[in-house]
C-alpha cells in the first residue's frame, strides 16, 4: 500500500474566501483560556504584520479592516468531504485526518501511468480548485499524514526510506492526543528517531502501549484500519460565498470549483451526467434555481464551465448571490467516445455548438421544423427537436416559402384585397376545406396574388365570412 496525503493548512481560511474576486485580510481566531488569539491568517493579513499567536485586539489595532472569524470545524469537515468527492477519481480508498485527505494510491497509480503523472494531475487540479496544499507519499496513512504536515513533498515508498525521513521529526508532531502528548513530554526524548533507537521493551516500559501502537501504525508493523468512506449516491455541494456576488461573470469562479469537484466524482464513479441543477442563494429573496442541460453525457469540466457561462447569462438575479449549490442526481454510465470523435470531429463540434445555443437561448427557442400531413397550412408543420425534423415531400411547389402565423387579415378595396396596394389574383383558387373532425374546420379559397410593388403573396378568402387574409409570401 502506498498512501498519498494531501494536507490543506489554509483550509479554515480558504473556505471563507472562495469566490472572492478581491483579496481581503482574513484571520481565524482561537479562544484559549478566555483569551482570543489569532490562529491562522491569510497572506494579505500577514503583510499587515498579523501572525498566529497575536491577541485579536492587537491584530485589529494593526489593521482595522481585518476580518476575524471563529474557526468552524463543521465547515472544514464539509469542505474536506467536498475534496474527497473530487479525489474519488484518484482512489477508491479515502480516509480523513484533520485538514488532511489520505488517498490509497498504491493500487490506482497504475491507472495513471505511475506515481509521478498521478502527482502532476493532483497538483494541476488542486491549483484550479484554489487550495494551498502539501503532499507526501508513504506506505502507511499515519506516516503519509505526518510527512505531509512536517516534510511536504516527501516521498517514502519503502519502510527503510520512511524511517530515514521521519528520524528528525519532533515527537510532538506525531499526535494531537493530549494524553499521549503528556507522555511524550515526560519521557524526555525529542525526535522520533531517538525513540526508535530505544529497545522496544524499554520503550514500552517507559511509555505504555499507546505510543507503541502509534509507532507500529506509523511504520506499518500493525494494520492501521481506517473507516472506509463511501461517496454518496447524490452529488450535492454548496459553497458559501464571503462577498455578495452581483455579476454573472463573477459566478464562474465558484462554479468552476463545484464543477471540478463534480467531474472528479463522476470520473471516480465511471459515470457522466447530462443535467446539472444550480441553486443560487440570496440574503432575502427565494433561491434562484436553474438547470444546465448538456446534449450528451459529459464529465469534462472545461466543457461544463463553458456551457455554464452561456447558461448563467440567461438567469435573472433578484439579489446578489451569497451561496451557490450544485446538485446532480442522475447520471449514466460513461461510454468512452474518443474513438468516435476522432473519426468524426464534426460530431463533437456539432454537439458543442447546439449546446451553447440552447443553454444561452433556451431549448424552446432553438428548434427544428417538421412537416405534418394536414391540408390546413397552419397545421401542416410543427416545431420539433433539432435534428428530428421530417419532411414529407408533398410536391407542393406552388406553396410559398414563408408562412404568416397567424394569417393577417387584409383590408378590401373595390371588392379586391389590398396589401401595399390592390392585389391582382393570378391563379385559379386552390380550395382547402377540412377539419370538421377536430373542431378546427376551415373552408378557404387560396390565391397567388401580386401587389403593385411586384411582391408575390399567398392570400385566401374565408368562404364562410368572406374575409380576406394574407397567409404566405413567395419572395
Amino acid at each position: 500500500m502506498l498512501w498519498t496525503a494531501l494536507y490543506f493548512p489554509q483550509l479554515p481560511i480558504e473556505i471563507l474566501t472562495v469566490g472572492l474576486d478581491r483579496e481581503i485580510a482574513l484571520a481565524i481566531s482561537r479562544s484559549h483560556r478566555g483569551r482570543e488569539t489569532i490562529s491562522r491568517c491569510n497572506a494579505v493579513a500577514a503583510a499587515q504584520g498579523i501572525c498566529p499567536g497575536l491577541p485579536v485586539q492587537a491584530a485589529l489595532a494593526l489593521h482595522a479592516g481585518l476580518r476575524v472569524l471563529p474557526r468552524s470545524e463543521a465547515d472544514e469537515a464539509s469542505a474536506l468531504q467536498g475534496l474527497a468527492l473530487w479525489a474519488y477519481q484518484f482512489s477508491p480508498r479515502i480516509a480523513f485526518e484533520p485538514l488532511t485527505l489520505l488517498l490509497e494510491t498504491g493500487a490506482s497509480r497504475r491507472l495513471f501511468g505511475g506515481l509521478e503523472p498521478l502527482s502532476r494531475l493532483l497538483d494541476r487540479e488542486l491549483d484550479q480548485l484554489g487550495h494551498q496544499y502539501r503532499r507526501a507519499v508513504a506506505p502507511t496513512p499515519t506516516a503519509a499524514g505526518l510527512l505531509a504536515r512536517t516534510r511536504p513533498g516527501a516521498t517514502a515508498q519503502t519502510p527503510e526510506s520512511l524511517r530515514r525521513q521521519i528520524n528528525d521529526i519532533a515527537l510532538a508532531q506525531l499526535t494531537r492526543n493530549p494524553e499521549v502528548r503528556a507522555l511524550i513530554d515526560d519521557i524526555g526524548l525529542n525526535s522520533i528517531g531517538e525513540c526508535l533507537t530505544l529497545p522496544r521493551a524499554e520503550l514500552a516500559r517507559r511509555t505504555g502501549p499507546r505510543l507503541i501502537l502509534l509507532f507500529d501504525r506509523l511504520l506499518g508493523s500493525v494494520p492501521d484500519p481506517r473507516p472506509p468512506w463511501q461517496p454518496p449516491d447524490r452529488f450535492e455541494q454548496r459553497l458559501e460565498l464571503p462577498g455578495e456576488i452581483t455579476h454573472h461573470t463573477a459566478l464562474a469562479f465558484p462554479a468552476q470549483r463545484l464543477i471540478i469537484t463534480l467531474c472528479g466524482y463522476l470520473l471516480g464513479r465511471g459515470a457522466a451526467t447530462q443535467h446539472l441543477t444550480w441553486r443560487l442563494e440570496h440574503r432575502e429573496a427565494a433561491a434562484t434555481e436553474f438547470r444546465q442541460g448538456l446534449l450528451k453525457p459529459s464529465r469534462d469540466a472545461g466543457h461544463m464551465l463553458d456551457i455554464f457561462r452561456e447558461r448563467i447569462e440567461r438567469v435573472r438575479l433578484p439579489e446578489p448571490v451569497v451561496a451557490m449549490g450544485l446538485t446532480v442526481t442522475g447520471w449514466l454510465h460513461f461510454e468512452e467516445q474518443t474513438a468516435d470523435l476522432l473519426r468524426n470531429p464534426s460530431d463533437a463540434e456539432d454537439g458543442a455548438f447546439l449546446e451553447r445555443l440552447r443553454n444561452r437561448l433556451g431549448d424552446a427557442r432553438v428548434q427544428g421544423l417538421s412537416t405534418v400531413p394536414d391540408y390546413r397550412p397552419e397545421r401542416a408543420w410543427r416545431w420539433c427537436g433539432p435534428g428530428t425534423g421530417q419532411g414529407d415531400d408533398t410536391d407542393e411547389r406552388r406553396h410559398p416559402l414563408w408562412l404568416l402565423d397567424p394569417p393577417c387579415p387584409l383590408g378590401v378595396r373595390e371588392q379586391r384585397p389590398d396589401y401595399g396596394g390592390r392585389l391582382e389574383l393570378e391563379h385559379l383558387p386552390e380550395r382547402i376545406e377540412t377539419g370538421w373532425w377536430d373542431g378546427c374546420d376551415v373552408a378557404r379559397d387560396y390565391f397567388v396574388a401580386r401587389n403593385p410593388a411586384g411582391e408575390r403573396l399567398w392570400v385566401f378568402r374565408d368562404r364562410r365570412s368572406g374575409g380576406w387574409y394574407l397567409h404566405g409570401l413567395f419572395d
Partner: protein, 201 residues
Amino acid sequence: MTNVSLEKLVKRGALWRGRQGVAAVESVEPTGWESLDALIGGWPRGALTELLSNRHSGLPLLMPALSRLSRTERWLLWTAPPHLPYAPALAARGVQMERVLVIREASHAQRLWAAEQAMRSSACAAVMAWFEHLETAPLRRLQLAAEQGGCLGILFRPISAIRQNSPAALRLRIVPTAAGLDVEVLKRRGGWGGGRCLIRL
C-alpha cells in the same frame, strides 16, 4: 495591426482589388440558377453574402443551394427569421428537414451572438440572419466568423444598408417584379459590381 502583410489581407479577402480579380479560385457554392451563376460564380463559401431588399426578399434564390447543403451533415441555421419558414414548401424544394435549425424570437444582441457562434463553429453549412440595423464592427466580426467556419453567411438586410460600407464578399440588391426576382450585383469579391439578371421563379 501594423504588420499585417498585403498577402495576408488578400488571402483573408480583406482587400478589394477592383477588376484584377483574384488569382486563387474562390470556393463557391453554385446557386443552381444558370444566369445567376454566370453573373457571380456562386455563393461564396467562408464569407458573407448580403441580400438587400425592401421586405426580406431573396430566399427563393437560395433554395437550390440550401437543398444541396441539407444533404451534408451540417445545419442550415435560420437566425430569427421574420416569418415562419413553411416546412412543406421547404421539403417540396428538396430540403432535408432534419438539418433545418431555427432560432425563434431573439433580441438583436442574441441574434448577433448566435449568428457569430454559428458561422464560426463549422457546424453549419449555411447561416441566415435578418437584421434591420447592423453596425460595421459586428458586420466585420460576422465576416471573420464566416471565414473561420467556412459556411455561407447570408444576411438579409433592408435596402437602406446600401449606403453602408460592408466587408461582405457579395452584395446583391433584390427587387421583386411581375416577371420574377430582379437581381443586381452591388459588389462582389475580386470584381466590380453592376451586372444584373432576372430570376424567374
